[in-house]
Symmetry: C2
Subunit: 198 residues, 2 copies
């Protein structure tokens, strides 16, 4: 049993889910497959040049208040970063590499903590390098791999799977049978669904 | 203590909330102020000619599945109507009249039951007349009032309040202190907020 957790580093609601998903999976005995990807290409196909929270200001205004309230409920730190949405391309490519090596959950949680817990700029390579070093990983080697044609192509190739699953936003949770759930508010239901597939 | 419940008859997620909000209010001792209104003008200002679930097909596809799942969770009937989004203008004007007379909750629940519980077309005046008659109301007189310049103007004048509250979708819940919550998923939190204002 495994539940795929699709997330985007620029997404505030992905932050809420990312900080809770491992514990939720552990307590239910369901493995979580972390799937970092980019929403940009999906948004562009819908005619948006930025996050819908930027395109629709009222929705954006509400989102920040809602995320603040949810952080309080969940006991998560919250600090709104100056820049939004942030460029999470390098972070996502690094997280993508880590999927095969098992450090993606720890890395991604640290990136989110910096971004929305401390309001830092996660497009800064130094910040990402610091996180990798804290995880006792070889930052230089990983940066080189993240910039390689091979990783770039493999990361991009996920787009076909995103399309097959019908994903249009994050966080999204895809169960083993293809059933999918969108939004931090559906995380528990997604786990319940996967548990029933047993 | 009162929580304002803003809803639109074409909205599937308003259906989910409308069928639960009275019981939730009763059990918490919080009055619910039903506020029927139209999303069309708001959507138009965002550049949408129809429901976002029509404008963004992937989101629409997901919405129907999600609403079906939520109905199952809540024990609500669900039948997808052929037409979507439906024209709920007449229903909304009638519900608006009922606010001062106390029959809006019963009327609105019956309209939603017909629309999303039975897949019927709520733009049909005969259907609405049948609901009014079931509630022992004078359908002819109410239709005449719904078409009067006075009611039309008063209904439209709500737009200023919608703008003041910052509403951009439905269902929305506005607490006595102006704090607002969007979406069926936030209904319980909205009540909790209002309860704390005591």
């Amino acid at each position: 049993m495994a539940l795929a957790f699709w997330y985007e580093f620029a997404s505030t609601y992905s932050y809420l889910a990312a900080m809770r998903v491992e514990e939720e999976g552990r307590s239910r005995g369901i493995e979580v497959e972390w799937r970092p990807f980019l929403l940009g290409p999906i948004f562009k196909r819908q005619g948006w040049e930025s996050s819908p929270f930027e395109v629709y200001p009222l929705k954006g205004l509400y989102m920040w208040r809602d995320v603040e309230r949810q952080c309080e409920r969940y006991g998560l730190p919250f600090m709104r970063p100056e820049d939004f949405p942030q460029n999470g391309l390098l972070a996502a490519r690094l997280a993508f590499i880590g999927c095969a090596e098992g450090w993606t959950p720890a890395f991604s949680s640290a990136v989110y903590q910096a971004e929305f817990g401390e309001g830092q700029d996660i497009s800064r390579p130094e910040l990402l390098a610091g996180i990798l070093i804290d995880l006792v990983l070889d930052a230089d080697a990983l940066f080189a791999r993240a910039g390689s044609a091979e990783v770039k192509a493999a990361f991009k190739a996920q787009g076909a799977e995103v399309e097959r699953c019908g994903l249009f936003g994050t966080p999204s949770f895809v169960a083993s049978d293809g059933e999918f759930f969108w939004g931090d508010d559906r995380m528990e239901q997604a786990f319940e669904w996967e548990a029933r597939l047993g």
